[in-house]
Symmetry: C2
Subunit: 338 residues, 2 copies
């Protein structure tokens, strides 16, 4: 038996999301139908507000992971369409509440829902999408899936509160940061992929492998997201650049720059994270300090570690187009600059 | 076979909640243990904020209905303890989000959570309690119960958005108002009582009877709540008196006063609901107009109609202490002045 090691690409052609998109195209069509159908309500404000965010695009990464996982498992049914939509509704609900919590102004390249519709409607429509996601899961009828997704939802909520607690706290450690992103981001990635193995009635080992794939990809994804917010070479993302900085979020680039900085630099970070340095020139100085200590690159390096773990996790599945696409999607996620 | 009509008491001794409290005392002890146990989290802000509201009292009416329903059905197990706690968590989550949405300052006689802990934490801990309620239901493991409570949650969320849409709209009709309170309040009352019949494996007819009891009691309860906000004879409630007026909420006393008013009075209501009359003297004038047209009494009269329906609904259950207590609790709910 020969070892089946798949290594993370560090040079050569840029990884592409195209194989992943091709793998999931048909499934995602069905998922998108469920999403559009089930965000409806007799209360017109609900589809208006939900549609502002949902029709506004987004990569639909989490439901795509459910669909890809189903392909990897050779699943032939249609249950994953509803469940993937449920996953996306959980994600959408947290985005809406995040934007209220952060007072965000931009999301997915346009005005955030809270700016257009106000905080009250945004909170309540988030609640609606969350309840609708549970209705979809209950319709599916698997208690095992319900357990995985209700647990993930609870972990996400706790991660969000934990992040809020750590905000403006310069003493936040890398370990604490990893715990936060493990909860607020990676838990849903893990659940999204894991449930595919459940509906395909795969073994416990395969279930855990898909869980590990999603979890590690989720951590890598969030690390890169947090690096991009300080990456002077990155393109504009859908949200305002420097949001993390102005909100005093303790993301890894800041944690590393603070750890690696001299006394004067540390003083700057203490003031900035406490909220006393919010001008454009302060953000520019922050980016300069982060560059000086190569913290974007260090954050991306950590992301590559988790990416490799994600890829290794699914090596127990048979080689083929599905596994290749899922591996390249991981490479794509950590290489992206937007 | 003799007819078994139970009539709503309109005179005689004041109805008491004591029989209901006695009926549910032992069960509620267990429910309260589950509530305290399951609002815990490793993130200290979560029990701190949740405890501020939960330990702050509240009547625990909804879980009490689940426990009472279980007694009425002769249920001998313990499943209703977790499920009643899940019901209370759903309710608590909506209270936290309501207070953010309304910018409330008082709740249950003390500063509202959003005032003490801020809107961001209040939104996120509300989300946590909501996810925790689903975890409790999933642990119970009945798909039928999950369906009832996830549907109720979705209806509540839609009712909350509907109420927001109707806010500051003087043209809101009594029918629309009844739809709103049917969703935002009565749906959870109905689900709370209905699930008792499910776990007790009662007939469909008994399930629907308990659903109707809860739904009609919920409507009656909300009508009385809305009447009290303008009742010059009512004692201080836990929330600020006149909140509904200042928030431009179209509750039944206002709908009736507007319908019954002359041109000058209607002009006042239009200005007030639009938000141009928020002084203490405006509230006093509103109370005077509502008294002039006997709108508190008319609202209470509607409440008594729904109360009678609630009582009639459970007449199919055998007479006894449980049914008596549940009937008297309805009478208590509509007679209360606080």
């Amino acid at each position: 038996m020969s070892a089946d090691v798949i290594s993370l690409r560090t040079r050569g052609p840029q990884p592409s999301l195209a194989p992943m998109l091709a793998l999931t195209a048909s499934g995602m069509n069905s998922v998108n139908s469920v999403i559009l159908d089930r965000m409806q309500s007799e209360i017109p404000l609900i589809p208006a507000l939900a549609g502002h965010l949902i029709a506004g695009g987004g990569k639909r990464m989490r439901p795509m992971l459910t669909v890809a996982g189903a392909e990897l498992c050779g699943y032939q049914g249609t249950r994953h369409h509803k469940l993937a939509a449920a996953v996306e509704f959980i994600h959408t609900a947290t985005l809406l509440h995040d934007d209220v919590v952060d007072g965000s102004e931009m999301r997915r390249g346009k005005a955030a829902a809270n700016i257009v519709f106000g905080n009250p409607a945004t909170v309540l429509v988030g609640d609606f999408l969350f309840t609708r996601s549970f209705e979809l899961m209950v319709e599916d009828g698997s208690l095992k899936v319900l357990k995985i997704l209700s647990r993930a939802s609870s972990v996400i909520a706790q991660g969000e509160v934990d992040q809020l607690t750590a905000q403006r706290k310069i003493e936040t450690s890398e370990d604490h940061y990893l715990e936060i992103i493990g909860s607020k981001t990676a838990a849903l990635f893990a659940a999204a992929t894991r449930i595919s193995a459940v509906i395909a009635e795969k073994s416990e080992a395969e279930e855990l492998a898909l869980d590990a794939y999603g979890r590690n990809l989720g951590i890598a994804f969030q690390l890169v997201d947090d690096a991009i917010d300080y990456d002077s070479e990155a393109a504009e993302s859908g949200k305002d650049k420097g949001d993390d900085f102005r909100e005093g979020k303790m993301t890894l680039p800041v944690i590393l720059a603070y750890a690696r900085g001299n006394a004067e630099e540390r003083k700057f970070w203490e003031d900035a994270i406490a909220g006393f340095r919010t001008e454009d020139e302060d953000l520019a100085h922050a980016v300069e300090l982060i560059n000086r200590h190569a913290c974007v690159e260090a954050t991306r390096e950590r992301a590559r570690l988790y990416a490799q773990r994600a890829i290794d996790a699914i090596s127990i599945f048979p080689a083929g187009a599905a596994r290749d696409a899922m591996c390249e999607a991981v490479e794509f996620a950590v290489a992206r600059r937007y």
